[in-house]
Symmetry: C2
Subunit: 356 residues, 2 copies
């Protein structure tokens, strides 16, 4: 029934399949979360605080901002949906390929999407065109690091976009759902401009980094008045009580954050080295926890996906992303044993193609 | 920031307060739910099934309908919100007093609310006026049993509304969030007409009856095409994985259902008998798990609420419901020891008024 296709729809595949299609931290549920879950269920008996005061205070303290600058949501997905409603009647620029829910949310809310294609050579952000197009729209949505391409917008480029939108009085949405996986998140985050740019909204998720996609928790950061406008479109109690309790503690879990940093640095390099050795694949450099890959010899990703499923590995056919053709797929970075299984399965598949 | 005021906002009161302001089954978390929660957290590591196939199958089997007639949501609140979007540009009749989110959702979605006041003498549904007004609107929203008044729409009346909306081709929304507390739910439910009336939508919640307001799970039942239209406005993964797992088992928990039936029959009678003995209160007959009460001697509910808080009891000042003045309050039915504390605190408060 839904229009946007996502990774992670493992419910139609055998239970043993290794899921490389959704980009979740493979270290699993943080220890701090398990402590919360341990028989501590009394909060399910109560409605969540309808204003999420305690949770917002914790998030604000983590980012050193005011709690009135925090809006919590049912995953980053709800913040995106609220933005869609907020942008009713507005024109929003979306460089693609990008997460499909941006365009869906804007259209559903009654806004107009202006699509700008990144150059498939390297998927760099077309700054010149953005500079021109920004004058004709009300805002722009950027994902940093970008899903599905994986590359990061570095500070000079980011600063230019921030200044440009500030000067022109346009909305700048920075979806930072994957930024915790980046080597130096604080350098690439828009957080430092939050105080000065009242039309800047940053989206964050607990989903990916803390391996809790089933919990449904994300948040938006921005100007108090803009967030109040967004909240007008929010249903009551959209965030469940368990998410509230977990959300309060997990940002302080330094051990999990340290282990994640070690894992991602190690496995990103490992996978990149091995993927680049394979003939027939083009690997795009990534600072996120996934790789976008292009099949260079005319094979199509949908077909490769079927082949890989037979080998027990689920990849993300990326052809449903606007701006990509049917030669692209995406794989998450997982733990070493799984990454080896991905490499083996891919190697096998590519050899099969050669033999055919 | 939100406009609708709800019960259950206990976060601003001392932890020891007994909450009579939200209408939750006091038997607590069902045993079947505790078994699910017991260390069984792997589902948090996965996105929920974006189509909720297994959960919808379970709900469909429980009601003996097709799974395509089930739409799951983040509490009944999400179904109401989706209806609000679905009714964009439409006129919707809402007899009041009623749950405040109906009007809020319709207005927010861009529809027009036509309010019809029930007679405060007994809050009976004004069938004559509904018959006339229905011709000028696109649909009607009814809560059965009604929140906050507690009375049930019996089969002859309900049948008349069903036939009327069917004949005129109007939407009929029946919110049955509290129907499991009614002595004979199946007699008062609109379920039996679901197959024949394609514009009938029934809303159900897990929140109240299974004491899981923190979990966020509810659903809508209706015609496949209407539900598909509603779903267009739904954000992805609005129901969390834990809710999915719990939702699958709890409808089969016959033991909890039996215990709940015994408790509600016993305590509704007990509370009613004692409340009716109090001078200065008017008790409205209820088939739900709460009582609407009117202060008859000029006291105002807001003031009584403060007095009761000092006695460790939180009641629901009902004056925020459109159609009620400031003399009404609502109390949930709880376990015997709590009900006795409510009676004692109320008796004390009424004596204080007399002495003043």
């Amino acid at each position: 029934m839904r229009k946007v296709i996502h990774g992670g729809d493992i419910y139609q595949y055998p239970a043993e399949i290794i899921d490389f299609s959704s980009n979740i931290n493979p270290l699993g549920i943080p220890h701090s979360v398990k402590k919360i879950l341990q028989g501590n269920w009394e909060h399910l008996l109560r409605y969540p605080d309808i204003d999420y005061r305690a949770l917002r205070q914790n998030i604000a303290a983590y980012h050193l901002i005011g709690e009135e600058q925090v809006l919590v949501g049912n995953g980053a997905a709800e913040i995106i949906f609220l933005l869609g409603n907020f942008f009713r009647g507005k024109k929003i620029l979306i460089p693609v390929p990008a997460f499909g829910e941006y365009a869906e949310a804007v259209k559903l809310g009654g806004g107009e999407v202006v699509t700008l294609k990144r150059d498939v050579a390297d998927f760099a952000l077309p700054l010149e065109e953005i500079r021109m197009l920004l004058k004709q729209v009300d805002g722009i949505i950027l994902c940093n690091p970008n899903n599905p391409t994986g590359q990061i917008l570095r500070e000079p480029e980011l600063r230019e976009i921030v200044e440009l939108t500030y000067t022109l009085g346009k909305y700048l949405i920075l979806d930072e759902a994957f930024i915790d996986f980046v080597p130096e998140p604080e350098k690439s985050s828009g957080l430092k401009w939050l105080k000065h740019h009242s039309q800047l909204i940053i989206i964050r998720a607990y989903t990916k980094y803390y391996a809790l996609p089933g919990l449904r928790l994300g948040y938006g950061l921005g100007d108090e008045r803009v967030l109040a406008d967004l909240r007008r479109y929010q249903m009551p109690w959209s965030v469940n009580s368990l998410a509230v309790e977990i959300g309060k503690v997990v940002l302080k879990d330094r051990e999990y954050q340290q282990l994640s940093r070690e894992w991602i640095g190690r496995e990103r390099n490992f996978l990149q080295t091995h993927l680049q050795e394979m003939v027939g694949l083009r690997i795009f450099p990534t600072e996120a926890n996934f790789f976008l890959i292009k099949l260079e010899n005319g094979q199509i990703a949908r077909e490769l996906k079927q082949r890989m499923i037979e080998k027990g590995v689920l990849i993300r056919d990326a052809s449903s992303f606007v701006g990509l053709d049917d030669s692209y797929f995406r794989v998450a970075i997982k733990e070493r044993t799984d990454n080896l299984r991905l490499i083996n399965a891919l190697t096998e598949a590519l050899q099969e193609y050669k033999a055919e």
